[in-house]
């Protein structure tokens, strides 16, 4: 267990909700509003934690376990993600599979918690969510797999640490394609436009929102916080590929923190400028991302 890597974990736990605030502020600026304060997410979390929860009589322990397990899974995945040249607290060969698996576990428990309510509304959202996530798995895994031949390592820490400016010069196109695929996965997993609109309240267009409709109080706080952490986790992987230069710890941290902030702003920009895809086109969008990652892998393997 790498103690220094725990700094990253603690930092993520603290700063993740800030990213949500950044995204919302960017969207507000684009829309010409002032928008909520940057720390609004923290206030929302505190408010939710203070409330009580109401559970329907048709639900079972699954409904109560869902938010907790998914938050736990995401926090665990946080331990796998390195920050800069610092290896992650938990690292071993093939940990990227565990990474994808933990995210899948989180998603799985959210979905079955939604199905547990017995409402067809949640079922509809669950089916959409599962379909899109299934299609988003190949780009994620293949995109990460592209890094393996380039850096000679099968662990996330090794991969992200092994990317340097030289790697970009050698295999620039492949890395760019992998990043594009991972950006699409980032948008999909975090239920952002163009895949899903986080602000929608129309039942025909909800995907992620509808699954968490019945949770309240601390459960909703866990889900909300988990979403923020998932944003951070996937963003950290993406920034890890995009920002290779390895200098001293202080400059690395600054560079990557600003990279995460820039990614949040970019997400805000994408959300403000593009329209949400029609639901039938989302699989094609994801298939396109899959093709990009396959292309990146082929370029690296030949």
């Amino acid at each position: 267990m790498n103690i220094a890597g725990l700094v990253h974990v603690v930092g993520a736990l603290i700063f993740a909700p800030f990213l949500l605030g950044l995204i919302n502020r960017t969207k507000a600026i684009f829309a010409g509003r002032t928008g909520p304060p940057l720390f609004q997410a923290y206030f929302d979390l505190l408010k939710l934690l203070r409330k009580g929860a109401v559970y329907s009589r048709t639900t079972t322990w699954v409904f109560r376990a869902g938010p907790v397990v998914s938050l736990a899974a995401i926090v665990t995945s946080l331990f796998l993600v390195p920050f800069g040249a610092q290896p992650a607290p938990l690292e071993f060969e093939g940990d990227l599979i565990l990474f994808a698996g933990l995210l899948a576990l989180a998603r799985f428990f959210t979905v079955i918690a939604a199905l547990d309510t017995g409402s067809s509304f949640e079922g509809m959202g669950a089916s959409r969510e599962v379909q899109f996530s299934a299609l988003a798995e190949p780009p994620l895994l293949l995109g990460l797999a592209t890094l393996a031949p380039l850096t000679g390592s099968l662990s996330l820490s090794g991969m992200l640490a092994g990317i340097s400016g030289g790697t970009w010069l050698r295999a620039g196109p492949a890395l760019a394609l992998a990043c594009a695929a991972l950006l699409v996965v980032f948008l999909t997993e975090n239920a952002r436009i163009p895949v899903d609109d986080p602000n929608t309240h129309l039942e025909l267009t909800m995907i992620h929102e509808v699954m968490v409709l019945d949770h309240g109080g601390p459960d909703l706080a866990f889900i909300f916080y988990g979403a923020a952490l998932k944003l951070w986790v996937l963003g950290a992987v993406l920034i890890g590929i995009l920002a290779p230069p390895q200098t001293g710890l202080f400059w690395d941290a600054t560079l990557r923190l600003s990279g995460m902030a820039a990614l949040a702003v970019l997400t805000g920009i994408i959300e403000s400028t593009t329209a949400r895809l029609r639901l039938v086109h989302v699989p094609q969008f994801l298939a396109g991302a899959g093709v990009l990652s396959v292309l990146a892998l082929l370029l690296v393997l030949r």
């Binding site: 394609l177 094609q284 396109g288 093709v291 396959v294 292309l295 030949r302």
Partner: protein, 217 residues
């Protein structure tokens, strides 16, 4: 230098995928023009260490013809048709893109079996050329409108041109110019015929051109 060539080639592959999957006609025409520009840039990059008059002429000629004249001809041919109604091709768009991925893998395998002796442009040109050829053939075979078949033919020719650039021999540029000229006339004639087809039939779906057949049930 190699990275620039690789980037241009990757962009070529991306335009091919986009052509396989795009739905709108205007987008397809623009993609085809973009391919022309990419090929012109590629010509200059490949011969970067000895850019002569012929190279420049070929590059400029390629860009003018493929990015300027072809879209103009296509738009002219469609002036009187109402082709806004998009026809679902034989192979759905998603399936086309996935087939394209398979073809890309096939091209890379084929190029590993046929190594190019002493090429200048690095080892990515041959797979990308083969892929463009396959993508063009896929477009010709699976699309129902005459215009898309012509676009597929153009992609096919782009792939062959890409392969031609990878070689380096003396009379090459002359041959390439001759090929370009022939291509120009071919697309011109095709444009004229598409114009006639649209006037005669009121559509340009070649799938419906089935009067001449040996199938007499």
């Amino acid at each position: 230098m190699n990275m620039w060539i690789d980037s241009v080639l990757v962009f070529l592959v991306l335009t091919n995928f986009l052509l396989l999957g795009s739905r709108r006609l205007a987008a397809r025409i623009r993609l085809s023009a973009a391919q022309g520009v990419l090929l012109g840039v590629l010509t200059i990059l490949v011969h970067a260490d000895n850019i002569g008059l012929r190279t420049l002429l070929l590059a400029i000629g390629t860009m003018t013809v493929k990015a300027g004249i072809f879209p103009w001809l296509v738009r002219r041919a469609l002036r009187e048709t109402d082709v806004r109604r998009s026809v679902e091709p034989f192979l759905s768009y998603t399936l086309s893109v996935l087939t394209g991925t398979l073809l890309l893998g096939l091209s890379i395998w084929m190029s590993s079996r046929l190594p190019l002796p002493g090429s200048q442009a690095g080892s990515l040109v041959v797979p990308v050329a083969f892929f463009s050829i396959f993508a063009g053939l896929l477009l010709v075979v699976s699309r129902k409108t005459a215009l898309m078949q012509v676009l597929g033919y153009l992609v096919l020719e782009n792939g062959i041109y890409t392969f031609g650039i990878a070689l380096a021999y003396e009379q090459q540029l002359l041959v390439e110019l001759g090929v370009l000229l022939d291509l120009l006339v071919a697309v011109f004639v095709m444009g004229i015929i598409i114009f006639h087809i649209s006037r005669e039939f009121d559509h340009i779906e070649v799938d419906r051109l089935s009067t001449l057949t040996d199938y007499h049930p």
